[in-house]
């Protein structure tokens, strides 16, 4: 029997599979597909203080093995999410992660504090990397100082473990990772979606109002895996790998590259029961490859 557990230090997860923010709704929508208890954890769709309508459609454009999205963090606001979380906590014991968003530092803090105070929440994930909110895809994760300041602010005023979610659309992701770590991040998750462009030939305009949108899905896997490898080598806190993961083998690749756990994004949209399959594949592959537990291979990529 292989041991699937994933150790983040501050918490030990049943396994390394964590459906990613924005691709797993509020969890409850997946109940009809499988028992949420099988997951390592799951991250709720990103939340602001107030309800947000999201971006003007189209919000989605398919590319080769990828997906450009410009959802714009549509959501019901923090107050309503509290109710949802209480409901969700009734149906599963799996740790729930809240993806904290904000227009400015103040809002980030306010949202973080609301969920920090909520027993049903296990961890916070600070989403400083959404490419679809500000013009040109700008986000705090592109600025080391802003990252440091914001992470510090949240850490000083909350008690729950804080995962900081990084953007690949930066000058130097390792330096941002180090800023977040220095400011007290308990873990780093990477990556959020890559900025991309699609053009509508008929209208001679970008497909998206925001011009750029976020690329996710299998297309980005080799790029994300590289960034996870680079960051994991440089930081001491656990890294959660994200980007184009679709199967058990992908998960093990990220672990070898240095991740302690992973988040699965787009695959959940495409195949709602993907987590069940992926968990099964991880187990089978670990047996085949004679890996007893994930710590045995984490970061052990032979260079």
């Amino acid at each position: 029997m292989v041991d699937l557990s994933a150790d983040l230090g501050f918490i030990k997860l049943k396994n390394p599979v964590i459906p990613a923010s924005g691709t797993f709704g509020y969890g409850e929508e997946f109940q009809t597909f499988f028992d949420l208890d099988i997951l390592g954890a799951f991250v709720l769709k990103g939340i602001y203080k107030n309800p947000r309508p999201g971006n003007i459609p189209p919000r989605l454009h398919e590319t080769a093995a990828g997906l450009l999205n410009s959802i714009g963090l549509a959501g019901p606001g923090a107050e309503e999410l509290v109710n949802i979380i209480k409901r969700v906590a009734g149906i599963t014991h799996t740790p729930v992660v809240v993806n904290v968003c904000g227009e400015d530092d103040e809002e980030y803090l306010e949202v973080a504090q609301i969920f920090d105070a909520l027993d049903e929440v296990a961890m916070l994930e600070l989403n400083i990397s959404c490419p679809n909110v500000r013009a040109g895809g700008k986000c705090p994760a592109q600025d080391g100082q802003h990252t440091y300041r914001l992470v510090k602010l949240i850490k000083q005023n909350t008690v729950k473990p804080l995962i900081v979610k990084l953007s690949p659309n930066v000058k130097d992701i390792v330096s941002i990772a180090l800023s977040a770590e220095e400011a007290g991040a308990d873990a780093l998750s990477l990556v959020n979606a890559y900025l991309g462009l699609a053009v509508n030939l008929k209208s001679r305009a970008p497909v998206f109002r925001n011009v750029f949108a976020g690329l996710s899905g299998p297309a980005i896997k080799p790029l994300a895996l590289k960034l996870v490898y680079e960051v994991a080598r440089q930081v001491a806190v656990p890294v959660i790998g994200i980007g184009g993961i679709t199967c058990g083998g992908d998960v093990l690749e990220f672990i070898l590259a240095g991740a302690s756990a992973v988040q699965t994004g787009t695959v959940n949209m495409v195949e709602p029961a993907a987590s069940v399959r992926i968990l099964h594949e991880i187990e089978t592959q670990m047996q085949e490859l004679q890996i007893k537990n994930l710590e045995e291979i984490r970061g052990e990529l032979k260079i």
Partner: protein, 254 residues
């Protein structure tokens, strides 16, 4: 709602770019209602990545029928499937047309919009009197007329934009008159956005309840990605996949 491995029983090229696919399902066929749709895995690889939404044309448990138009690479791949091929199908998804009794219902279908309309006609005939307006660009797009002939319809009005079959003109051309003449109090409609827009204008002021089955770009089909947003007249967005696809026509901002 579940993802099922379905077997292709037949996949017939009806006319030009239109196909009728018969699928053997496990539970979808017996659980579905008119207006429901399915998400079809048109490929087993990552290109195309997303499943494609298709309305249910007919249910005959354990079989469902999809009537689809080849418009891009996903539907093209689907058109190449053959008997005994398997494909993953998620469904049934979305809401459905409401059930009525003793009403005069006008069904309005533009092109492939016939899909949920046909399903509704087959299922909602009992107790109601049904009328149908069915139009498309040209004769080549106005298919399945023999099947429609055998539906329990009081009257059928056919249109084509180029006049190649039925009356020349748009589906919405005489809709007001038809409603008034036939004492219609309910409409079910499905078609392209342009049809809904003009329908919304034509129907303004008439004392009719109007239910429209919409299309939108879909990511997931089951309410979690927020891609399929449609703007409502009251402000804010609704999700076509899970709040719809059937909406009150006047609730949508056209």
């Amino acid at each position: 709602m579940k993802e099922e491995k379905c077997r292709v029983v037949e996949n017939i090229n009806i006319n030009e770019k239109y196909y009728l696919m018969k699928l053997k399902t496990t539970t979808i066929a017996k659980d579905c209602r008119p207006g429901n749709f399915v998400m079809v895995a048109v490929s087993t690889t990552f290109d195309p990545l997303l499943k494609r939404p298709f309305g249910i044309f007919k249910s005959e448990p354990p079989y469902i029928y999809l009537y689809y138009e080849v418009v891009g690479k996903g539907s093209e791949l689907m058109s190449r499937l053959k008997e005994n091929d398997n494909l993953a199908v998620l469904g049934p998804l979305g809401n459905s047309f409401p059930v009525f009794r003793s009403e005069n219902i006008l069904l309005i279908a533009g092109g492939r919009g016939i899909v949920p309309i046909y399903f509704a006609a087959e299922n909602y005939a009992a107790g109601n009197t049904l009328f149908l307006i069915y139009g498309a660009k040209s004769a080549g797009d106005l298919n399945l007329l023999d099947r429609i002939d055998s539906l329990p319809l009081k009257k059928t009005y056919l249109y084509s934009e180029n006049g190649s079959t039925g009356k020349k003109g748009l589906v919405t051309g005489d809709v007001r008159e038809i409603i008034i003449d036939n004492h219609i109090n309910i409409t079910f409609s499905c078609g392209p956005d342009a049809m809904f827009k003009s329908l919304n204008q034509e129907l303004a002021g008439l004392a009719v309840e109007n239910y429209a089955s919409l299309e939108a770009l879909m990511g997931c089909g089951f309410g979690i990605c927020y891609s399929c947003a449609v703007k409502t007249r009251l402000g804010g967005y609704k999700k076509v996949c899970s709040d719809g696809p059937v909406f009150k026509l006047e609730d949508i901002e056209w």
